[in-house]
Symmetry: C2
Subunit: 254 residues, 2 copies
């Protein structure tokens, strides 16, 4: 699979009848939908988008120009990871990813909302370190504490159950990136196994989930992308090897 | 019903076994949940919150301290209008408010997302007029154009069907407030019946829906609240008559 990100002027790849997700390789929100597509064993194509130079046709699929957007039928799309994932779970119920109890489904969403406070802090720490305040560290710890407590209260391997579900696939992309913080000069944001034993086991268990494993990127890779972005030119194509292995060898873009 | 907004130091009213919604009388997001509770003919109590001086106990129901929050069982709550309303629709299916087709449900949510661009412009026009830019007027018109077109494409009286549904109850609180803009010095943001004939009929039809009618406030009332807020002291209790009619008459607060 090409990991090349399309930019303004690039043509839309031909539609081949499969579900197609417009994404960005390092975007946690796009990853949420990738994980759900994987977990449901659905056939799909990924189209990666350079978010600093968006192809014009992206706006035909999503007037907001954000990713993820899911082309469910040629030329027709829905967007927003929560909308896409709920749709996928309802449309393809063979592998159900949500609780059957309406209250539990609501509580899962509430948990995600509260956990996102930690993601906001991650985002400032990684991409805007000069703006980092003690309140950010506090919100980050609060998010991890909530996760620790929720895992304790639920008593299951994952939040959904002993199998991962939508709630797990929704928060995972954020956690995957949290692990890059020590490499970005934020040693105090490392997830301490003594303080957060359940979170630590959860992280390891999630990394073994097939849907996660096939899209997982290491802390080092995430840190490299962050560094390229904070230096002023996000290196969207850092994982792309499509030029290297094609028939007409071209110099690999750095 | 008392329309008095509780503030820091005020005690939590005793729980009486009913669903209880923490709201603010002029908050469009809280109104979304009020309308769904009404549409489903559910028994509930409203607890109004002074958002400039939040009672301490609000944070026990919602750590974010926002409204709406729904106490579904004594001391236990969920929050966020979208989470609450989906929960209510799934938990109390007697009056279903969503389409049965997963794609249509997703499309309804996408429509709401896109329509909210108009709300953002309303918000700036009403509460921060000095920050109002031509792009805000453009986004506002775009939202109304989308609604006009969607009503045309769907061909039904409401967006949901010939009966209003969740999508209608979700956008209505914003539209109700848009009508106050001409009274706030934004004559160019009046909804022009020539340009938006379907939106105009839709507004009139929505005002006749029982769930809407019993909570509706006029453009004049919304404008008065906005004016009190922009003057620096939001008059949360402007509709409260509980002091007037109680046994020990007290001077009505203005």
């Amino acid at each position: 699979m090409s990991e090349k990100h399309l930019k303004a002027g690039d043509p839309l790849p031909p539609y081949n009848g499969k579900l197609r997700l417009f994404a960005m390789r390092f975007c946690p929100y796009a990853e949420r939908s990738v994980l759900v597509l994987n977990a449901k064993n659905l056939q799909y194509d990924l189209v990666f988008i350079n978010l600093d130079s968006k192809p014009e046709w992206l706006f035909e699929f999503n007037p907001k120009g954000s990713v993820p957007a899911l082309e469910y039928e040629q030329g027709k799309a829905i967007f927003d990871s929560a909308i896409i994932n709920t749709y996928l779970d309802e449309k393809y119920p063979e592998v159900p990813l949500q609780a059957t109890d309406p209250l539990r489904r609501a509580q899962d969403k509430v948990f995600v909302e509260l956990f996102l406070g930690a993601h906001s802090s991650f985002y400032v720490a990684a991409f805007n370190p000069d703006g980092f305040q003690p309140s950010h560290l506090e919100a980050y710890s609060k998010g991890l504490e909530r996760l620790e407590k929720e895992l304790e209260v639920r008593g299951t391997k994952f939040l959904h159950s002993n199998e991962p579900g939508l709630v797990d696939y929704t928060i995972w992309p954020h956690l995957e990136r949290f692990e890059s913080l020590p490499l970005l000069g934020k040693a105090d944001m490392a997830i301490d196994g003594t303080k957060y034993p359940r979170v630590t086991s959860y992280l390891e268990a999630m990394k073994q989930v097939p849907a996660v494993k096939q899209y997982y990127l290491s802390a080092e890779t995430h840190a490299k992308f962050v560094e390229s972005k904070t230096k002023g030119e996000a290196n969207y194509n850092m994982l792309d090897t499509s030029d290297v292995c094609c028939m007409r060898p071209r110099k690999k873009k750095q």
